[in-house]
Symmetry: C2
Subunit: 321 residues, 2 copies
Amino acid sequence: MNSYPALAPIQAMITEVEARMCAQGEDCHPDLRAALEHLLSSGGKRIRPTLVLLVGRMLGAPHDKLITLGAAVEMLHTATLVHDDLIDGSLLRRGIPTLNARWSPAATVLTGDFIFARAAKLAAETENVTLMQWFAETLAVIVNGELTQMFTSRGLISRENYYKRIFSKTASLFEMCARAAAKVSPADDETVESMRRFGHKIGMAFQIVDDILDFTGDQATVGKPLGSDLLQGLVTLPALYYIETHPNDPDVHLLRDGGWGNRERMERLIESIRGSDSIQRSMQEARDYIEDALEILASCPPSPERDSLEQLSRYIIDRQV
Amino acid sequence: MNSYPALAPIQAMITEVEARMCAQGEDCHPDLRAALEHLLSSGGKRIRPTLVLLVGRMLGAPHDKLITLGAAVEMLHTATLVHDDLIDGSLLRRGIPTLNARWSPAATVLTGDFIFARAAKLAAETENVTLMQWFAETLAVIVNGELTQMFTSRGLISRENYYKRIFSKTASLFEMCARAAAKVSPADDETVESMRRFGHKIGMAFQIVDDILDFTGDQATVGKPLGSDLLQGLVTLPALYYIETHPNDPDVHLLRDGGWGNRERMERLIESIRGSDSIQRSMQEARDYIEDALEILASCPPSPERDSLEQLSRYIIDRQV
């Protein structure tokens, strides 16, 4: 697992979360258990459980409920990844073979379903009805977002559409993590709401940075070609800024006309975007979200967990991959 | 929708359940909404919501909770069918094109996920934590059962294995319907438990009869060839009884050796099973389950709903398709 400063104070709790996740494979068919272990051991930054644990500890939530909730959100996230990789036909994630690289589509669909079921069971074990409703609603938002993206013609989209898409894809779950952790704490409604906003801000920033790294990241580490989103016709914030400021670039015209399949021209467009100020403008937008998030934190009483949440927020814009 | 006597007293409530299900498509992408409407209008006997409504009314559950729960269980069932049809590559269900006959696998996977999410949201709206836990657990049992069936080599299985399989596939959800309806009623734990057993019994009978109808049903109505399970290497109760009583039939030997792909020999075996007493022995087993179910009902105070549950139980063994 990648490590980052915010993680250090709760490393032991993250290990408990991982054990809780692995335990979901008990009493299952051995092949399913092995698949679960493979998926859960494939690493990832555990950024969603980290958010749950830090917010919950800051607000005095019971230890056990946080472990359960942390496992529930990471399982939900894992289930969506399993189905996403199947849909995209991805064979690698984080440099490790995906489930569908080794299994039939049928087994992959069902394994994703099983992980959904276990995530829902863990969420139910928090014994908090509101949290269950948020959990189910978040899953619906994520899936509806993916379907909308699938049904929407690729190529040109508006920035408004982009923000909706990254909310569905990423910020909705970050928001849920933070508000759910607050909900199982002895916190008032106002605090729950400000934690929801905190989760939303860092979630939006997280996805914008991910979209920037698709243009600027170290290819070997990302494991995808530079600008892979655009090569698939997926227009993200750096491309949107470039399109707005370079309406007459012939490659932009081509993109508008559905020409993202023209690899040579799109590679040239990717280089143009990389060399433009669109990357910096996008980064500034992510920084603005993080500034808002830090402002929300500033209104919380000082605590080691608040410090870690600040570190987590800064890590989101500073990370390289 | 197919009609049957037990349904009459609650027909209006079933209409409410269907409206509640359709409402889950509001605020979605129009294509997803259209897909949901297509799926939900494709009929089916609504036997699971019927079970929920009758048990709940018999025990005095609040009207609104029953409508919500009825919609939740039918959505859960629908979601599993969407993924099943995708996995099997089925193009028709109840004579109507399946989603995957018209949509890409990707859209079909996500639509199933969306319906799971909405089912979970409806379950959460009952505001009953225990019920949520049962709901999530049932989904896990169904999916684990399907995966186990997928991983287990086809052909010869034991009767014990068969009972486990039909519990996962069918009886687990019937059980959940009946106990959940009791749980949202002002009923004591003993009643909840006896309703669970009632649901279990009629669920086991339901699947056994389904498996018999695969051998004896009207082909035009079933829309599948006679013995389609066996042609796919899926050994059900009538085949198991035949195998037990005809260990030396060469076609049985072939089946043992993985020969279910030999269409001619398997068609002969299907005819042998149809002509044997295995059908009647299987039917007797289904009747025994229904007798147990009726006995459980007999210990409930008389009511119109109890009468309807008796009719429902008898319908399960008397139905033709």
